[in-house]
Symmetry: C2
Subunit: 323 residues, 2 copies
């Protein structure tokens, strides 16, 4: 399943990915706010990946994997395990190519997520919410379907796809001093490192992580991958650990990792909704939270923040829950 030895995607892979996926993704706009700039004392640019049709940047990597398959491979479709945006984005890309997509999801995943996968034609097989059950179930599903495994982030095609976001970001802003993106498994951060290390090597890459799921922060400090033990955070897109491929990029090119508390994430999310007037999910508010918290590190700089997704339950907003 995994490609041994480590298959590091290249800048050329990213450029190829951008050409390949252009018909299926949006060149999302960049939002700014004078109010937030004054508040922070920096010039902030927000790349609105929440405006992708399925609501998340993950459509970039998913589309690159799906449209890179040979016709023969494509007939058997793709398969993955995910309870979040990767599942719906892979289903969306597969639908666009007209091929099957099998997704293993824990039976406890929110119905809204399952509905989105089904709306895009993805076929769900439920597992128990444990790693053992997920791996067993996925092995059976993949054997039955023969679908190509597209890992949510530990896949060179996926990382090359995510890297296309940073390329657009640099083009749209005429350069940035730093790009801040959330880190979970590290797909977006790795793609950003891949692209910027070639296109804008002076631009810092800074990762933003919830305190309550700070495995990347601790790994970065320790110099090797440390996985969290059952992390729990409102930023539910950032629960997964780094893997070999993403660790390669994080350890070699990330400038710094900052963390934010749950309340800081919620406050930043609400502030962004109010002043940018966009709907972003909690995971996507972590970059603004860490910029607000570490203003001296960003003072006077041109800072790009990746708004990774906008899939939230509008009936369960975090600032409501605490009321």
């Amino acid at each position: 399943m995994s490609k041994a030895p480590l298959e590091i995607p290249t800048y050329a892979d990213m450029l190829g990915a951008h050409e390949r996926i252009k018909p299926y993704i949006r060149r999302t706009p960049v939002r700014t706010s004078d109010y937030l700039d004054e508040l922070v004392g920096a010039k902030l640019f927000f790349k609105c990946e929440n405006f992708q049709e399925p609501g998340a940047f993950k459509v970039r990597g998913a589309a690159n994997a799906v449209f890179g398959l040979s016709d023969e491979q494509a007939r058997k479709g793709v398969a993955t395990h995910s309870s979040g945006n990767h599942a719906s984005c892979l289903s969306y890309a597969a639908m666009k190519r007209g091929i099957p997509c099998n997704v293993v999801m824990p039976r406890t995943a929110p119905n809204a997520k399952k509905d989105t996968v089904r709306r895009y034609g993805g076929k769900i097989t439920e597992c128990e919410p444990s790693t053992t059950s997920r791996e067993e179930t996925f092995a059976l599903v993949q054997e039955a379907s023969g679908g190509d495994f597209v890992h949510p982030y530990n896949d060179p095609r996926v990382i090359a796809g995510q890297g296309t976001c940073a390329k657009e970001f640099i083009e749209q802003t005429d350069g940035l001093d730093a790009v801040v993106a959330p880190i979970g498994g590290g797909g977006m951060i790795s793609g950003t490192c891949l692209t910027l290390s070639h296109l804008a090597s002076e631009t810092q890459v800074i990762a933003a992580e919830p305190e309550q799921a700070d495995d990347a922060y601790r790994s970065f400090r320790a110099g090797h991958i440390i996985a969290d033990d059952a992390p729990k955070t409102i930023a539910d897109g950032l629960l997964v650990p780094l893997k070999e491929l993403t660790w390669h990029f994080v350890s070699s090119h990330v400038t710094e990792i900052f963390t934010a508390s749950e309340q800081e994430i919620i406050d930043a999310m609400k502030l962004a909704w109010k002043h940018l007037r966009i709907v972003m999910e909690p995971s996507s508010a972590v970059p603004l939270a860490i910029v607000l918290k570490n203003q001296r590190a960003f003072a006077g700089k041109r800072v790009g923040l990746v708004v990774t997704g906008g899939n939230v339950d509008l009936d369960m907003l975090p600032w409501m829950a605490s009321a």
Copy 2:
């Protein structure tokens, strides 16, 4: 105070306004959603005026009035009465020119609105929530300050400014079969009529109004201005009646006025937040509500919807209130 006789703004006035205000407004992006297109059976384009820095299209008309003043007039500043977006947008434009802005607001207006006006340097004088008190208070304020009265919509400079939105919209979409905008006092609809009657005379202009504040609908049917008696709707930007100038445009160029119920407005607002992932206020959801309700009228067409503003109280969302 009012300019007699009727001073109808021209297409040249709108073009002049666009040049004048360009440094102070944003050329807001246009959002689309494959999901909403399929749902409605039409191609929908959403012009995101909620992305203006003060959160509403009204910055266009306000900036045109403020930056069109002679230096001598400008020294005395501007004055208006409004409890909504016009007050903050006029304050914002005055701040940009560095001149005083006096605003008469009912003491019952939400604190959030008052805070925004003050943040932009506007000076608030409170009145009782009645027409008599407002007019008396405003007369005193204007006499004391000598500020130029900028009516929220019944002012040719304001209508010419609002018309710049439709110009951008046509440029950004390569043409539309219809533009749908909310109607309250009629400033946006009048500006849209002004621009499209010259630039794209084949494009229909359709007004969207809450059932519970349907004075424009009834005026349109009757052929003369009918004012509502104390209308009450969640679309709080649309409570005010038509005036002579806006009636001129509505009666001569609007194709149709459709209305939507309170629940239809709330449902459309939530649907837009979910699938466009933008924060729009209830008034701005009325166009989508009437398109969803009258699908046959829009089937297969290219329809532009103006998202007029995004200033909402995130702690009091309408779908929460009913929970």
